[in-house]
Symmetry: C2
Subunit: 204 residues, 2 copies
């Protein structure tokens, strides 16, 4: 690329990177377990469901089979649904009635949660699903719409190679304890609070 | 769903949700600006690139046109690339040589960054792209591989309706200041540190 001799900064960089590479190679060698992982993506920031949909794309690219359960949410005109419904190897269910402040009907929300959970539970028992996305599941537990025990038990007993992603704010501690990976997305800034409308292709 | 009279808990819930709905409706009414937004997804947690790929899916579902530039990363066997390359309306570029600790060649990395940036800059001048993903761009600035000024200027001057997502750790403050939305993904727990291998369909 260049014929200049390496500068002092370049030499320092190389030494530091040699040390870093040795550390990283050692930890990669140590990480040798292959199994279905459980990821929880929580927090008040933007990107929770979106990152689950990114994983759906990634999984489909490897020829895996994916099931998606959207709890709480009721809209069926989203870009993600339109897009993934055209693809092979995806089963997509919209199972909610809207956010609690829209429905204003706690008992109705609980009934929906229970019906929705049956769909999820079936996927968690079916090893043909390589990845199961439980979008907004956290609310069903934090709002006591579902009993914890059967949900945690179904997650624990899922097929050994099945990956599962749970998204939503306020994940209960039991979900995080069970998860292999927990990402907490913090809202440092949100377009919405500066008066910018929810945008097609960005927010839905 | 049920014929039981509403319980005290249900009544309390309804009152609280009526107040919440009024607040939310008011803030939705206030958010009426439509424009291309800039999102920065940063932090040390899992889900940054993945959430950008979720946005790609979402945008494609609305018939939008998407450009993706992957800096730093050099692997071309990822699920996301395999998947999105099959789709219409996506242009995908892998522009990196690997992480700095793998290449151990600072000057080579800088040369790659400069070549890659030219591809990105062309997209940021092209209003036919509705969404541009600049995956791992943050490193090119935090490591001083690129000068800040031309990068920030190209982002600022992009077409008014074009959305852009910038991902990567350690986003510099100027990027965050310019962004409409900033999500900071924190690593609460990562499968990798418990000895679990990077998994096909989850991590790549």
């Amino acid at each position: 690329m260049t014929n200049k001799p390496p500068s002092k900064q370049d030499q320092y960089h190389q030494k530091r990177m040699q040390r870093k590479k040795a550390q990283i190679d050692a930890s990669i060698a140590k990480a040798d377990i292959e199994k279905g992982v459980m990821l929880v993506v929580t927090g008040n920031g933007k990107g929770k469901s979106t990152s689950a949909f990114g994983m759906v794309a990634r999984a489909l690219g490897h020829g895996l089979r994916v099931g998606v359960c959207q709890f709480i949410k009721s809209r069926t005109d989203t870009g993600e649904e339109a897009f993934f419904r055209q693809q092979e190897n995806v089963e997509w269910h919209v199972l909610g009635d809207g956010f609690t402040w829209d429905t204003q009907d706690r008992q109705g929300d609980i009934d929906s949660a229970k019906r929705g959970w049956q769909v999820a539970e079936t996927m968690l028992q079916d090893s043909r699903f390589d990845l199961v996305v439980l979008d907004e599941l956290t609310y069903l537990l934090s709002l006591d719409y579902l009993d914890k025990e059967p949900v945690l038990s179904a997650l624990a007993k899922r097929p050994a190679q099945q990956h599962v992603v749970v998204t939503g704010r306020s994940a209960i501690v039991e979900l995080k304890d069970m998860a292999d990976t927990v990402s907490d997305i913090r809202d440092e800034k949100h377009a919405y609070t500066s008066g910018i409308k929810a945008q097609q292709g960005v927010d839905w």
